[in-house]
């Protein structure tokens, strides 16, 4: 069992190599194909032909594509992602400070939505066409159809602007707090490690509204998937057999039905998570959250090659890690998976 699991991990890692390589090449070529000329952009408002040329040279853009790619590969081999033109700060440093911000928010949002969506889905599946089922349907429809920036602005309007119970939407900490010393990059954990409960409280308070905003959006696919999977499992033969054998309702529901329904839920969870991490730009904008999504968008707007490449690469690696984790979880949940891998 252990050996096979290790084998699974190793084979997955090996399988990921070509895709990571492909991603490196494709992002390199795609960033070069972006419209707009970074040299012109960075030459500033009063540029002349000559100053644009100077800048092209200083950015290394006067060299041929193969040379540029070679330099990029050599940097990667040394663990360097290059320096962003627009911020003048190494991409690695920016990603390291922004990725935890995104992860902290996304994880909390996911936790919230799982806590609501899974029980709701299960309840809706066990009581089809009752009020719980309808509530589930309403929530799912609302979650999918309300754009996140709208939900975000609406929550800000009600809880911050009208009621004044939420803290000002100023990013990860309110103006008068200092960030805790960095250990994990997660403000909540770092504050705990530093034993600073005041900062912990402040960091959590800042997290609430954006996490709910994102949670509402991720709730929909999760609840729907839970409901669908549960309905399917509950209608299958082995559940009928279990019921006929007089097993307790809770045993049937959780030990037999839920465990079998967990597989599609896990798949959805993984997809939702990776999707949210990169695409919560709108939430980040509304709440001034210094996350990875807004970094990528700003880099794209100014054709900042190193930053875009660094972002895509970081996301690709994260996807690979996440898929691996999900695969391993499958084997825990369902012993049939992974044996023959």
């Amino acid at each position: 069992m252990h050996a096979s699991k290790l084998q699974l991990v190793l084979s997955r890692l090996v399988q990921a190599l070509p895709s990571v390589l492909g991603i490196i090449i494709v992002t390199f070529l795609m960033t070069r194909a972006l419209p707009g000329d970074p040299a012109v952009y960075f030459a500033g408002p009063a540029a002349t032909e000559q100053s644009i040329e100077q800048i092209r040279k200083s950015l290394g853009l006067d060299q041929g594509l193969p040379q540029q790619f070679w330099i990029y590969l050599a940097d990667l081999a040394r663990g360097e992602l290059g320096t962003s033109f627009s911020t003048g700060i190494p991409v690695k440093e920016e990603l390291l400070s922004r990725l935890p911000a995104s992860l902290e928010l996304t994880l909390l949002a996911l936790l919230l939505s799982v806590a609501v969506a899974v029980p709701l889905g299960v309840l809706a599946a066990t009581r089809p066409d009752t009020w719980v089922d309808h509530l589930c349907r309403v929530l799912v429809t609302a979650g999918v159809s309300l754009p996140v920036f709208f939900t975000g602005l609406f929550l800000v309007y009600v809880f911050y602007y009208l009621l004044g119970v939420a803290p000002s939407p100023l990013g990860r900490l309110d103006i008068y707090y200092l960030s805790p010393p960095t250990v994990t990059g997660f403000y909540t954990f770092d504050a705990l490690i530093a034993g600073d409960f005041e900062v912990l409280r402040a960091a959590l308070a800042q997290l609430v509204l954006p996490a709910i905003t994102m949670g509402l959006f991720t709730l929909a696919p999760l609840a729907r998937m839970t409901r669908g999977a549960m309905l399917q499992v509950l209608g299958s033969d082995f559940i009928r057999t279990a019921r006929a054998s007089g097993l307790r309702r809770s045993t049937v529901l959780f030990t037999y039905a839920f465990r079998n329904a967990l597989l599609p839920i896990l798949t959805t969870l993984g997809m939702v998570f990776s999707f949210m991490l990169g695409s919560n730009v709108l939430v980040e904008k509304v709440f001034a959250w210094p996350g990875i999504g807004s970094y990528a968008i700003e880099a794209l707007i100014v054709s900042d090659y190193a930053a875009v490449q660094g972002f895509v690469l970081a996301m690709a690696l994260l996807y690979v890690a996440l898929n691996l984790l999900i695969d391993i979880l499958y084997t825990v949940v369902d012993p049939r998976v992974g044996m023959d891998a």
Binding site: A46, T87, L153, Y176
Partner: protein
Amino acid sequence: MKRREFLRGTTVAAAAGVLPFFKHLPASAAGRADTLVVVTGEGPNSMDIQRTGSNRPSYQIAVNLYDRLLSYGVKTLPDGSLMYDYQTLEPELAVSWKVASDGMSVSFELRQNATFWDGTPVTAADVKWSFDRAVSVGGFPTVQMGAGLLEKPEQFVVVDDHSFRIDFLRQSKLTLPDLGVPVPIIINSKVAMAHASADDPWATEYLHRTPAGGGAFMLERWDPGQQTVYKRFDDWKCGSLPALQRVIIREIPSPATRRALLERGDADVSLDLPPKDFKELHEGGKYRVAGVPIENCLISLGLNMSFEPFRDKRVRQAVAYAIPYAEIFKAAAFERGLPMWGGKSFEPETIDWPQPFPYSTDYEKAKALLVEAGYGEGFEVPLSFDLGLAQWSEPTALLLQEGLAKVGIKAPLDKIPGANWRTKALVEKSLALHIKNFGGWLNYPDYYSYWVYLDGHLFNSMNYRNEEVERLTSETLHLAVDDPAYEPNIKTLLRIFFDEVPNIPIYQPYLDVAMQQTVTGYEYWFHRMLDCRPLRKA
């Protein structure tokens, strides 16, 4: 400054009894009279205005953290708001200056007691190093220095520790004013040189993150993409000490959130709101909204000469008559600006700039001109605008499209993403019909003409060339304003601009800033940055 270093600094300072930054304070502390909270859409991406790729918000660092030799005076406008005065130069680091009798150099006396933040005195050697840097690093700072004919390091001469001279290559009215723009900052050359290397002789890597100057504020904290915090430099000698101890500038990308923060009282100053919000806040009367027309700036429509029909002057004039000016001013600009249409005569009476052009909406006249030019049945031309400015440029484009349709000109909209705009519009100059928004720092019509009407210059996105404009502009650009040739030259230029209209002005936009009633002392500056030095909070 790295956060760890900062924290270390905090402990030291706390031990000394001056807590520079509170670890946590109740929310009501935002009301502290010596701390100003500013929310803005975009923050600086560098602490060095002279670095390649520094964005516009980085200019505020040059304004607040560094000194220049000269500054400008301040005048009060009829509505009581304050505005810099381009006609008077005032001392900043220099206490006095004198142009030599032959008019070919200027000598500056530097302030005796001025020091940098680290306590070392500011000397003429620092000034020379800083100016040498500005004319040598290339890119934007070098071009901006060049506008004032400051081109070579040999022009900058250290006479003694507190005397400095600039030798002119040629005389120009722009040389002295150019010393007051944000670019020629005085850098602590000893600190900078200690961090320079053979590859990086001007210490661009170091100064990018760590300012080294002697301005009224010092950098307390910079989290790129999140916030910038200034702290007052208590030994500042180059002006009256700011009332504010600390300025916190937070980056809030969403304009709706920026407005909410102001209305909830969590922010003192809110920048870059859409014109609609400024209008509503202004009319609501609960907040102070300072709106000053941006000098030498026009929202205009550019007509590219490479598009066949626009080569005919009558077609260009027809377009100028087919613009629904009043509707655009109302629905796109929300009246936050000055009308630039409806001038009385094609003969300019004054040399005021900008001034309304002699066109107004007249579809009949437009149609007649098109018929005369042989385009009676109309034509099709894409109308391009910068998506980055869509807040006002999209409604403007839609209304333009409607107006042009009435005279048979079909103008499908061509939305161009911000990053692409500069390449397409300014470098390739390939957009047939497009919305422009150029503004010049130095407030002279000939300076505007230099950038916008001279063939091949960056903002001449119209590919316009007129021999008389070429000659007059280069003749007038460095001419003193009281020179007898100045006024007639400008009038001739304006007459050509009116008649030829390759560039049709629509309105002159306001620079709007919304703040709490408690914030006073706001001054409008041509660089459009928030100068925190004169601000006070009651």
